[in-house]
Amino acid sequence: MAADPQPPEGSPLAGVTRPALFASFLKMGLLGFGGVLPWARRVIVDERGWLDDREFAQLIGLCQVLPGPNVVNLAVIIGARTQGPIGSLIAVSGILFVPVALMLAIAAFYASLADNVHARNAIAGASAAAAGLIVGTALRLLLHARPPPRGLVTGATAFVAVGILQWPLLWVITVLIPAGIALEWRASRTDAERKHAKRE
């Protein structure tokens, strides 16, 4: 049986209307300069009170494990909890459509500036920094997660295969994900046996 798609009585999510749902996700998408997640927390937890901090953190944890853009996944789930599948569509449209339209307008404007030397220099500088932001994101995640040696091996393999050797991603992860799960599974069994042995 699937979980009940309706939130329990009394949950703040039960009374959210479709326009409010759309407007809230539109706001997160439009204010999300340099990342939508901080704004998502602000709107969902502080402003609307739809979730508390703990619920929000749990939901983000789930969104990060699932494939796809994290904030789009967040929109899918919050939308589903308020209005079912239609709610998911409304929330995802809110967070995607207007930013995409704006993005295209910016891109068209940038294309008209393509021959301007200052614009080219500015974007060269921003490009270099943008690369660093992603390296920094990875570093931050690494310092936060502190994976065990087996995790360092699978992570380093992913980096070398996809980044340096530029092998096709689908091949790499078809091998790497089962291998990672097998290593992790063996480690969890060894841990359990060790605990068991200690108890005896």
């Binding site: 699937a2 979980a3 798609p5 439009l30 204010l31 999300g32 300069f33 340099g34 990342g35 789930l62 990060q64 494990v65 699932l66 494939p67 796809g68 853009p69 789009v72 899918v76 995607l96 930013p99 995409v100 993005m103 910016i106 891109a107 220099n121 500015a122 974007i123 060269a124 500088g125 921003a126 490009s127 270099a128 920094a129 943008a130 690369a131 660093g132 932001l133 992603i134 390296v135 920094g136 994101t137 990875a138 931050r140 995640l141 994976p147 995790g151 360092l152 699978t154 992570g155 992913a158 980096f159 980044g163 340096i164 530029q166 991603l169 992860i173 990672g180 799960i181 992790e184 969890s188």
Partner: protein, 176 residues
């Protein structure tokens, strides 16, 4: 290749990537780069990184880079198809997973899978950073900007948009 062929190619390639974007869009950037730069030759590596920088400067989710890549190779239709292809399948998967979330929480394999995926996702994001840096860093000044931005993001809580704007200003000064 006609525009319709390009759009079809984007739809097929990006739909497949949607379901393997563990850790989000940043995990599939090297693959998008490989397809549009190395395999199809639709743009140079430097142009790809410029689009990425533009996407970072604009508001909206990380998925905006995908819309820009679609726009660059096939106009507005390309942008819409690319965005739908990357967000659609993962959203459906997310909806299904959410309905089963309570049951999944008790599954013994869930923790194992989560711990196995996390370092792989980090490795893929690192690969994205490396791919972007190779496209962007054509001078020592640019390399220095990359390293400074890396440090700013890894060790401070500064909003990344300020880092990008500062780097753009340095770029106008002719240092990148």
């Amino acid at each position: 290749m006609s525009s319709a062929d390009i759009v079809a190619e984007i739809a097929v390639r990006f739909t497949a990537l949607s379901l393997v974007a563990i850790g989000g869009i940043n995990a599939i950037l090297p693959e998008i780069h490989r397809v549009v730069v190395d395999v199809e030759g639709w743009m140079t590596s430097a142009q790809f990184v410029e689009l990425f920088a533009l996407a970072q400067l604009a508001p909206g989710p990380n998925a905006m880079i995908v819309a820009l890549v679609g726009w660059k190779v096939a106009g507005v239709v390309g942008a819409l198809v690319a965005t739908a292809a990357v967000c659609g399948p993962s959203s459906v998967a997310c909806y299904i997973a959410w309905q089963w979330a309570d049951r999944l929480r008790e599954a013994p394999l869930r923790g194992v899978i989560q711990r196995a995926l996390a370092p792989i996702a980090i490795g893929l994001i690192m690969a994205s950073g490396y791919t972007l840096a190779r496209g962007a860093d054509r001078s020592l000044g640019a390399l220095a900007l990359t390293l400074l931005a890396t440090a700013a993001l890894a060790f401070t809580r500064i909003n990344p948009v300020w880092v990008l704007l500062a780097a753009a200003a340095v770029g106008i000064g002719g240092l990148a």
